[in-house]
């Protein structure tokens, strides 16, 4: 009896595990009831462009500032399958250490040191909520602001309570256009370009180079993939470009061979590789194996040194976009900004992979945060948000590429990454080089993105 009973039991557990796995891979695409049209609220007219109505706030506008320190809270995967994202934090922590050692940052005439408190959420949005609740306090009385929480669903999970408590949720590490939902004024994204603008950039490139192109897309089966697909479909409206096939792969999967075989069979002229992490280089390898020569675009999340290194020759000539200087590109090696980055990250975060673009991204977000503090009118949360929501052609901060400037304008335009450089990978040299001039979608994200993606 022993064996057959345990056998039945184990099969039951297996069945439950399979169901759980299939459920988690089919993450509910959180279509909340936020139906405010972009730019539809904030009609007072008298307030400054980035100002937020604080009349319903609990009155803790200066919480999180004690003596001469400003405390920031963050939550990101430090263990688990996406722990590679924790490299980002090494970039901004190095920048904050550097600024603190320089004599701290001046906010409204007083000097403050920046302290970051963070916790591991393993990319699990439920853990992000507990982490942020404990660091910010359920009533928002602890940390001054939330900084660079990684992941779309993770930021969506915390934005309501941060909104209710009037706590800034700043520089979110996701390109989801939903970070610009005007209903959540206390949340603002980072320099990562909205995914829908990446689609637009590639669509525009095809319009110029191959106006009758057929396109096949690989996207992840979640909101992130939806941003790419729907953004692209909107971008090609009225053109002769056609999407002939879209294949989706389960969230977190690396193995996409069957999907690529299916896409390659269409012999499409262009391939949009919306894969992230290892799905991205694996897709390129299978594309090569299938002898499918197509104009290829890889997700902006894929241009990290590690992933492109794995793709190797399979990634040769692939296009993407960026607005941060790639530390591995010798073109920038002699620039003071890059030298400063290398010296300070080596000094304060010796374990960081200094050639990894996501560390450079983290460094730049830290630098932009410091700039926003300097520009805020008071050492308060609402003043910080006003500063972040009314940036005027901010240039050259951290490792922003030359020609990239950030302008934000309250609810109408809370997006920072609206300018980007179209780039192409050179497998022999192992870095991307520029193609054409900067793409400028300043102030146009709301227009170029299906409204459901922003208001989701």
């Amino acid at each position: 009896m022993h064996r057959s009973r345990s056998m039945r039991l184990l099969l039951l557990i297996l069945a439950v595990a399979l169901v759980a796995a299939s459920c988690s891979s089919r993450r509910s695409s959180s279509t909340s009831s936020g139906t405010t049209a972009p730019g539809g609220s904030g009609g007072t007219g008298t307030a400054a462009p980035g100002a937020i109505d604080t009349s319903k706030c609990p009155g803790n506008d200066a919480a999180g500032i004690g003596g001469d320190t400003i405390t920031l809270a963050s939550s990101f995967p430090q263990s688990g399958l996406t722990a590679a994202f924790s490299e980002i934090s090494k970039g901004y922590k190095a920048y904050f250490s550097y600024i603190n050692a320089q004599g701290a940052v001046s906010d409204a005439g007083k000097k403050y040191k920046i302290v970051v408190k963070d916790k591991d959420d393993e990319y699990n949005a439920a853990k992000t909520i507990t982490n942020i609740d404990s660091l910010v306090g359920a009533d928002g009385s602890k940390a001054f602001a939330v900084f660079n929480v990684v992941g779309t669903s993770n930021n969506i999970a915390i934005r309501q309570s941060l909104n209710d408590n009037c706590v800034p949720n700043t520089f979110t590490a996701t390109g989801s256009p939903a970070m610009g939902n005007p209903k959540y004024q206390w949340t603002i994204g980072s320099t990562l370009s909205p995914y829908s603008l990446e689609s637009k950039a590639f669509a525009d490139f095809l319009k110029r180079t191959k106006p009758n192109a057929t396109v096949a897309m690989l996207v992840q089966d979640d909101d992130y993939g939806m941003d790419y697909e729907q953004g692209f479909r909107q971008a090609i409206q009225g053109t002769n470009i056609k999407v002939v096939k879209v294949e989706k792969y389960p969230v977190g999967a690396n193995e996409v061979t069957a999907q690529i075989t299916s896409l390659a069979a269409t012999h499409a002229d262009a391939f949009f590789d919306g894969g992230t992490l290892l799905a991205c280089p694996n897709a390129l390898q299978q594309q090569k194996a299938a002898n499918w020569n197509a104009i290829t675009y890889v997700s902006g999340t894929c241009i990290a040194k590690t992933l492109m290194g794995i793709a190797g020759n399979n990634a040769d000539k692939a296009y993407s976009v960026t607005n941060i200087k790639d530390p591995i590109n010798p073109q920038f090696a002699s620039e003071p900004a890059m030298k400063l980055y290398r010296a300070q990250v080596t000094k304060y975060q010796p374990k960081a992979d200094i050639d990894n673009g996501i560390v450079a991204y983290g460094w730049t977000q830290g630098a932009l945060f410091v700039e926003a503090l300097k520009a805020s009118k008071a050492a308060t949360r609402s003043a910080l948000m006003e500063s972040l929501r009314s940036m005027k052609a901010v240039k050259g901060v951290g490792l922003m590429i030359d020609g990239f400037s950030i302008t934000t304008n309250g609810d109408k335009d809370p997006f920072m990454g609206e300018q980007m450089q179209f780039v192409q990978y050179d497998a022999a040299k192992k870095y991307f080089h520029d193609v054409g001039t900067m793409l400028d979608f300043e102030g146009q994200t709301a227009k170029l993105t299906p409204p459901a993606l922003i208001n989701g």
């Binding site: 009896m1 022993h2 064996r3 057959s4 009973r5 345990s6 056998m7 039991l9 184990l10 099969l11 557990i13 297996l14 069945a15 595990a17 399979l18 169901v19 796995a21 299939s22 891979s25 089919r26 263990s79 688990g80 399958l81 722990a83 590679a84 924790s86 490299e87 992840q220 089966d221 294949e247 989706k248 792969y249 389960p250 969230v251 977190g252 999967a253 690396n254 193995e255 061979t257 069957a258 999907q259 075989t261 299916s262 069979a265 992490l277 290892l278 280089p281 694996n282 390898q285 194996a289 299938a290 590690t306 992933l307 290194g309 794995i310 992979d353």
Partner: protein, 292 residues
């Protein structure tokens, strides 16, 4: 039609991966009567170990060999230190919980020791396709290794005294002890062998040319369980056939059933349910008849 065969070959490519892990699952089941949920993550750790050796300059074949030996010892130690104490309670659920704990622990440990960035394993088999067929040489290589493993396993279990003892222990530990078999050693041997098989499977999967990270075995394990359940948990041949069926079904679903995009994992689940309804012991499993 050629697209159909391309997808079948894709399925075979994934199927041999599932089958090779399923084989390790079957081995533990045959020798201990238990399922090891941590099999995949143990294999992941071994894979990282193999990679580390290759990064130190060892050729990949030698690295896999060393990794097998180390994994064998580690697997035996795990049985002795972690599994046996809880097994004494005679409740299979206890061991299941421990293996689930190991599932989490080994994944985290691998990241702690070897870092979180994706890594690249050197290839053992030449790159490219076999002739004009749409099948990678690495897939063929993995298939050959799989067949060799199957044959060796069969020889060990059916043709040697140790194999007889292994089977005796899993079928009836008390009687085995009475006839003088050292059941403790046999259980350690079973775990050691399974860990070594896992090391081969993981290393070869990672060496298929694409990179690997800590998620290498997580999806594989689910599909391997499906393959093993399909083929019958006590049959090495069943594990291989089951793994291949699951792999092919998955690839064909991607191509032809668009409604299941992104949730192809539903396919093995349905396959298992259907097979277990018709043949509760799996396709190749033996029916257990006991006298009362």
């Amino acid at each position: 039609m050629s697209l159909f065969f391309s997808q079948v070959f894709n399925g075979v490519g994934n199927g041999v991966v599932y089958a090779s892990v399923a084989l390790a699952l079957v081995l533990i089941f045959r020798t201990t009567g238990l399922l090891n949920f941590a099999q995949g993550e143990m294999a992941l750790f071994s894979t990282y170990f193999t990679w580390k050796l290759t990064a130190q300059g060892l050729p990949i074949a030698a690295a896999i060999g060393v990794s097998m030996v180390v994994s064998f010892v580690a697997g035996a130690l795990i049985e002795r230190v972690l599994i046996r104490p809880v097994e004494a309670a005679r409740n299979p659920l206890n061991v299941v919980i421990v293996t689930l704990g190991m599932f989490l622990a080994f994944n985290s440990l691998a990241q702690l020791v070897f870092g979180t960035n994706p890594q690249q394993m050197p290839s053992l088999f030449p790159a490219g396709k076999l002739g004009s067929l749409n099948i990678q040489k690495s897939t063929v290589g993995l298939g050959v290794v799989l067949v060799i493993e199957c044959v060796l396993l069969w020889l060990l279990l059916q043709k040697t005294r140790i194999g007889l003892a292994l089977r005796a222990v899993s079928s009836n530990p008390e009687s085995s002890r009475l006839v003088g078999i050292n059941t403790g050693n046999m259980l350690m041997l079973g775990w050691g062998l399974a860990a070594a098989l896992g090391a081969v499977a993981g290393s070869l999967v990672a060496a298929k040319g694409t990179g690997f990270d800590a998620s290498l075995m997580q999806q594989v394990l689910l599909y391997s369980f499906a393959g093993a359940a399909l083929g019958g948990f006590d049959s090495p041949l069943g594990a291989v056939v089951g793994g291949l069926v699951v792999g092919i079904a998955e690839a064909l679903t991607v191509q032809y059933v668009h409604a299941l995009q992104g949730i192809t994992i539903i396919v093995p689940l349905v396959l298992i349910l259907v097979v277990l309804l018709v043949r509760p012991n799996g396709l190749f499993g033996r029916k257990i008849v006991e006298r009362v």
